[in-house]
């Protein structure tokens, strides 16, 4: 993961009316496709070993629909992208990431700010997965990032928060998902869902900052 050379000092308090959808899609796809093997390796340790390939299938499908998505209002684009993930990813990740994007799209439509949009998405993930913080899941990245966003953190701080939160799942014992079958043996491995959530957080920050340089 290379840091982009420049980051804007702060994110705008409200999201721009025209999100850079094309760049968001490209960055998110590049982040997942570029790390699909790594995600699968993490999943082989404590899950069923398909997180990387599943997520790549979903983001390939989103990239294929880029032109259609770019033509939509951002809230509708988020909803449609969420639907694509639900249909294409398979496993638990499809319904969970799909719920995240659909929840974010609904909040964006109602005019929520960035923190409000992420919060709404997180609420949907919690409901769909019947999980909360500390269960060694994607929520263990999304929740701290959401809290940092609410507290007005700048992009560099948000990045650091996401990476630290991902790494902190290493010492957690899984209580949701396939890894929970392992109990204490799930300790010692970063959660694959937390890892993909971290990758996507960084990709979104890159896209919103329109940072030059190689995609993650």
């Amino acid at each position: 993961m290379t840091l982009p050379p420049t980051l804007p000092p702060t994110l705008p308090p409200t999201l721009p009316p025209t999100l850079p959808l094309g760049i968001l899609i490209e960055r998110a796809h590049a982040a997942i496709a570029g790390h699909a093997e790594g995600l699968t390796k993490l999943d082989q340790a404590i899950g069923d070993g398909d997180h990387g390939s599943n997520m790549k299938r979903g983001f390939d499908a989103i990239l294929a629909e880029k032109a259609t998505l770019e033509a939509l209002p951002p809230s509708d684009a988020l909803h449609k992208a969420g639907t694509i993930l639900v249909m294409k990813v398979g496993g638990a990740a499809g319904p969970l990431y799909g719920s995240l994007l659909m929840g974010m799209g609904a909040a964006l439509k109602e005019g929520a700010d960035a923190a409000g949009v992420l919060d709404a998405g997180i609420a949907k993930v919690k409901a769909r997965g019947k999980a909360d913080a500390g269960a060694k899941t994607m929520l263990d990245v999304l929740i701290p990032v959401g809290e940092a966003l609410k507290a007005g953190a700048d992009p560099a701080k948000l990045r650091a928060t996401a990476e630290r939160a991902r790494d902190a799942t290493r010492d957690m014992v899984a209580t949701r998902g396939r890894a929970s079958f392992l109990g204490k043996r799930s300790k010692g491995h970063v959660d694959p869902g937390a890892a993909s959530s971290c990758l996507l957080t960084l990709a979104v920050l890159d896209a919103l900052g329109d940072a030059p340089g190689e995609p993650a």
Binding site: D50, N54, M87, A92, G94, P95
Partner: protein, 127 residues
């Protein structure tokens, strides 16, 4: 009236085998459809296939969805959200063991039970 049964498994073979047991033990009177495996034909779940299976057995009296593992339960819930709004309240994911739940649900459905009764019978199989 007959409630339909959808069998969702991470494995197409498990889903089809379960449906075979339902047809063999309960008969052909209850509509049964399966959704097994991921979109590429491997092990996993496919929300589009679950949605299609629900639509195949739909005849207005409701559908009970039996699932094997946690992510199949989530897939079932997601598939319900993608249905026409008028149908959503009439489709339920059962928290029940797959094989026993499917056979019991179909047995009760074959007797003309309501969706609530079918779901309750399946969920009573939880150990």
């Amino acid at each position: 009236m007959t409630v339909g049964i959808v069998v969702v498994s991470h494995s197409a073979k498990v889903a089809e085998g379960t449906a075979d047991m339902v047809r063999g033990m309960v008969g052909e009177g209850v509509p049964v459809a399966t959704a097994g495996g991921d979109p590429d034909g491997g092990l996993g779940t496919d929300v589009a296939a679950i949605k299609a299976a629900i639509e195949r057995v739909w005849d207005g009296d409701g559908v009970a969805v039996l699932v094997d593992l946690g992510s199949a339960e989530m897939g079932g819930a997601s598939a319900i959200e993608l249905l026409d709004e008028s149908r959503r309240a009439l489709v339920r994911v059962c928290r029940a063991p797959l094989v026993e739940g499917a056979v019991v649900a179909a047995t009760v459905a074959d007797g003309g039970a309501s969706l609530d009764e079918v779901v309750a019978a399946a969920e009573a199989m939880r150990g």
